[in-house]
Amino acid sequence: MSGPRDAATGSAAEPTAGRPVATAVVVGAGLAGLTAAAGLTARGIEVTVLEARDRVGGRTHGLAVAPGRQIDAGAAYLGDRHTELLSLVAELDLKTTPTTMLGASRFALGAQHATRDGRFPPLNAVALGDMFELLDELTAAVRPEAPWLTPDAERLDTTTAAAWADEHLTHPDARLFFPLFLGEMMAADPADVSVLHLAFYLRSGGGIRYLNAFEGGAQQDRIDGGAHQVCERLAERLGTRVRLGEPVLAVHQDADGVTAHSTRGSYRADVAVVALPPLLADTIDYRPGLPVRRAGGRTARGCAVKVNLVYPEPLWRQHGLSGWSVNAEGPLLSTVDDSPAADGVGVLTGFVTGSEAHRFAALDARRQRAAAVEQAARLFPMLPPPIGFHVTDWVNEQYSQGCYAALFGPGDWLRHGPTLTTAHHRVHWAGTETSTEYFGLMEGAIRSGTRVVAEILTRL
């Protein structure tokens, strides 16, 4: 395995480049890993990025729906508070495009389908308001930079969001809407997350209103042509430093350095960055072993399956509809207009989240298509059958283990929170789950990558 070893130690680097100040091996070529790799490279550190898949991008992934038309099969949305992502987008010569939300919404929350202006569901407004007031109270009380230090953290950490809802939500409309809201916001089933994680997640993302909003919120824009391009362009700049198809099995350290062992070779470096979701980071063999594992016994996979229905054009707009819908019954618990900015095909994205994601993922492809297409036809009877249909099952994706992000269950924050960003000797941790700012979002991933670069520069 002399090839990879040479690349990592820098002896294969151009002679004119001189000796690198240090070497680093980065595990994972998602947004966090690539941000870290780009930052370290810019400071003269010789970097090797090891990626398990045959593509970069992690939980961002482009899907071709028509010639020259790519959409997001993974992470898609951003808002103007996502400043690190926005500056990266600009630096990489990419553009954003607004998420279209004009027109009436469709709701299937009871026996009948309803069409209403705006996004407000035909449910008891006071009951939903009571729920949002309670959630806002929880959100305001959390310590976002250190959730485990939140007042009453122990109780909040041991209680699931489902138990909290059972106790505090009395009106049937609030009980109906709560799991739909959690599914939309964090791809979680209420039984999977602690109240502390729920409150932290909402706070970290900028509060309930910001996280929920399209215009003026976290879903305001998309990246024209797909968010995966951010990763692709970062990887292009890194060139041969990025090695695909090399899942890392072990990270071993000694007094002089760290070695990452992939399925194809061993890479020696001064420091390592593990930029993986916690459940995946725990599949690596660390020596010496980690004092605290990256995930807990109750850490769950983010439960999102994304369904993309492709039409000849965004035909719902001609009927005064936005494409937005909210539905009590699955598989599509909500739909949104994700059509490419350029003229041409129309794309409705259906979100299958929470426990519904597990049910849907277990169906064979034919049944998935039948269930989703049938539901779309009930919601939007004016539409012809779709000309394209795509399912992206993030729950069972081997090298993500869930999406949008890992779900911290009871006990997780108190046990794992304090060491979330603590380096294990020469091993540093990145990934959106290590960012207390915009946790679970692309913005969080980038901020974690930037943090790791600063940590490593301090160490050197």
Partner: protein, 89 residues
């Protein structure tokens, strides 16, 4: 004295001004803003349907009147909602 005004003076409800002030305070709290006056439009101040429900929740708790989302949209100002509360009693 007209029969109307005598009804008003014997009614034990809070004065309209106090109600409007309370609504201004609710707007300030949910909008996280200090720029609210009696005729401020909730949606122009950046409010949306989600936090509008929080205003309706606060009104139900503080004034014992359950207004609908449509009521809110038709009168999205502190004085407009105060009138809706008075009508709802």
């Amino acid at each position: 004295m007209s029969p109307d005004s005598s009804t008003a003076t014997t009614s034990p409800t809070a004065s309209p001004t106090a109600e409007v002030q309370d609504l201004v305070a609710i707007f300030c709290r949910v909008l996280e803003s200090t720029d609210v006056v009696a005729d401020s439009d909730f949606f122009e101040l950046g409010g949306d349907s989600l936090i509008a429900t929080r205003v309706l929740s606060a009104i139900a708790r503080g004034h014992g009147v359950e207004l609908s989302f449509e009521d809110f949209v038709l009168a999205p100002t502190p004085e407009g909602l105060a009138a809706k509360i008075a009508a709802g009693r």
